[in-house]
């Protein structure tokens, strides 16, 4: 693809003109083609042992999320207990990758997850709208990191992006990355507000160039959230970025993924588009809450041979 021929990426972000030239020079996304390719990948049949593997892999990739105004420390603690041991009756179920909470609840989550492998992610930068001054956003990030968050989910300024102020968005991501310190930075593009797949591709590259460790589809507060065509475009971006730089960046899909079947279809897409190396919680995540219960029900079904209902998993 033509982006592969492009030389030095360091020059790209030198100034507004070169950044714009690069982003607008990216090949356009054939929307019909992307939808067709995504629909085609969704027809793969994943059964028996492959399905069991896919379910456990998907569980290990979940960022178990609660982002409600009504979140209480008690709710976060019970979520953390579930994250560390998703099925209290079965120790063979892997822990999820992380829990994802608002910054003021990070300390509660860190305390509850001490001694486990589960990370603590926090949304920051005036999530979900991102409508605040840069100082306020960076303060939000530093707060979360100081409280012990190992991963920060930032939102880009969609207004600036849509107005064409790419350097402003770029600089905000760079500044946020600097404020994160050792914490991993996930950049939320909120593709539901970007209108086109072309914009999703440009925003993906912008976030990758600015140093985001992950690119993430959505906040979960806007519909549509993660859709297969958007996931396809973002996975292509990290694949091409790896081809150009040799560096692997991650993708996180968030919002609206509730059924195991959808999750397994996305794993197929990850494998086929980005490659097998991305089938790893370090490079691919699901931001979800009810998905975990559905995966557990599927796991019960595979183990026992009979269907289970919502009585057999926790009420979130």
């Amino acid at each position: 693809m033509s982006t592969l021929a492009r030389p030095d990426l360091r020059d790209v972000s030198r100034d507004d003109t070169s950044l714009r030239r690069f982003l607008h020079g990216l090949p356009g996304v054939d929307q019909v083609g992307a939808e067709g390719r995504a629909a085609g990948l969704a027809t793969r049949s994943i059964k028996t042992t492959s399905k069991a593997w896919a379910i456990d892999t998907a569980i290990a990739m979940i960022d178990l999320t609660t982002l409600e105004g009504a979140d209480t420390p008690g709710k976060v603690r019970s979520l953390c207990a579930k994250a560390a041991r998703p099925d209290s009756s079965d120790a063979s179920v892997p822990s999820v990758a992380a829990v994802c909470v608002y910054p003021d609840l990070v300390a509660t989550a860190v305390l509850a997850l001490r001694g486990t492998s589960v990370g603590v992610a926090s949304v920051a930068t005036a999530f979900p709208s991102g409508r605040a001054s840069l100082d306020t956003k960076l303060h939000d990030v530093r707060d979360a990191v100081a409280a012990g968050a190992t991963e920060i989910d930032m939102v880009i300024d969609r207004g600036a992006f849509l107005a064409g102020h790419y350097v402003q968005v770029f600089d905000e991501i760079v500044a946020t990355k600097a404020a994160c310190g050792a914490a991993h930075l996930k950049v939320i593009l909120e593709t539901g507000e970007l209108a086109t797949l072309d914009n999703a591709r440009r925003a993906s590259w912008l976030a990758l160039l600015a140093g985001g460790d992950f690119i993430k589809t959505s906040t979960g507060k806007v519909s549509p959230a993660a859709t297969p065509p958007v996931a396809l475009v973002m996975l292509e971006a990290v694949r091409d970025y790896h081809a150009m730089t040799g560096e692997r960046r991650g993708v996180k899909l968030a919002g609206g993924i509730r059924a195991s079947k959808e999750a397994v279809r996305y794993l197929v897409m990850v494998n086929e588009v980005a490659g097998q190396a991305w089938l790893d919680p370090a490079l691919f995540r699901f931001g979800a809450s009810s998905l975990l219960n559905d995966l557990l029900l599927q796991r019960h079904k595979l183990a026992s041979g009979s269907y289970d209902g919502p009585d057999y998993v926790t009420v979130d």
Binding site: G305, S306, G309, P310
Partner: protein
């Protein structure tokens, strides 16, 4: 007035008007208020009792059973939470719809149930016999609709207790009920087992008679056009032997009605049903025309007893 529409025809019968193309009906499942085909894409032929091909109907798979249970579970809170009076009104509305399509049901029941003995004797099933069954089915539905806000007074009541308490017991719906509909009585049997399940506030997943499913599918259309909320009744057609074990083993089903299963096959299903301690109702096949009494109204309820302090 528009011209009179031709009566429903079947593949066997010639079209009423030779110049018109026949509109053949697709018989599908009824899940969550919609009429989907089977997830498996399968169908199977249904013959009249006289041996003529009537139609191909959807052959449900275990995943259709799963989807039906999910739909029934989703509908349970609303249906069980409705007032008993409201449930009675909705069920009465079903009877109104059923009554309005009486001719269609008379034709379908007649085709489905003309006995082999009658075929051997060259006798055409009397429309009267089919009509009698449809009439009885409408009356049976009205009967149970009327019971929905009255059975609690009969099944429940106050308990005389030795202490300063007011103790009373009242029936509450069991939950999602798996109903294996009678195999022979295609409409009256179905109505007689389904109506009491609904009247007491349960939601149902019904597996229709395997060889005589057409009246059941038409009955699903009656349910869809009355005020019954989507998912309260989910009706599947297909192989009873294939589907029943999945329904019996499903841990989100709370009770099982084995009316449509022969005695020899019941034990295996009862064992599967024990996995989550389902309430199992396995009566002898009754004369469906006889007065049903209220035994079925007590089959799928849980008795809650409350002790309330009094005096002081």
């Amino acid at each position: 007035m528009p011209t009179k529409r031709p009566k429903q025809t079947t593949p066997k019968q010639p079209a009423a008007d030779a110049t018109r193309l026949r509109v053949r009906k697709t018989y599908k499942l009824y899940i969550g208020g919609a009429f989907p085909r089977s997830e498996s894409g399968r169908s199977y032929p249904v013959h009249s009792a006289a041996g003529d091909l009537l139609a191909y109907v959807a052959q449900a798979s275990r995943k259709d059973v799963r989807d039906a249970v999910v739909a029934a579970r989703k509908a349970f809170a609303g249906w069980s939470g409705a007032t008993a009076y409201n449930r009675g009104q909705v069920l009465y509305r079903v009877a109104e719809m059923l009554d309005g399509r009486r001719d269609q049901f008379v034709a379908q029941v007649g085709q489905a149930e003309m006995s082999t003995a009658e075929v051997a004797a060259g006798e055409v099933v009397s429309a009267d016999a089919a009509r009698a069954q449809v009439d009885a089915a409408v009356d049976r539905w009205v009967y149970y609709a009327g019971w929905s806000d009255k059975y609690a007074q009969i099944v429940g009541g106050t308990n005389p207790v030795a202490g300063p308490y007011f103790s009373f017991s009242l029936p509450e719906p069991t939950g999602v009920v798996g109903v294996l509909a009678p195999q022979d009585s295609s409409l009256l049997g179905l109505v007689s087992v389904l109506a009491p399940v609904l009247a007491t506030g349960n939601t149902a997943v019904v597996i229709a008679s395997e060889d005589r499913p057409l009246p059941a599918i038409s009955f699903a259309e009656v349910l869809a056009t009355s005020d019954l909320p989507p998912g309260v009744v989910n009706l599947l057609t297909g192989s009873t032997a294939e589907l029943a074990p999945w329904l019996a083993g499903h841990r989100d089903v709370n009770a099982l009605d084995l009316s449509g299963v022969v005695v020899a096959d019941r034990k295996a299903l009862q064992i599967k049903a024990a996995g989550n301690v389902k309430r199992v109702y396995a009566p002898h096949e009754p004369d469906w025309f006889a007065d049903p009494g209220i035994s079925r109204l007590g089959a799928f309820v849980e008795t809650k007893t409350v002790w309330h302090p009094i005096g002081v």
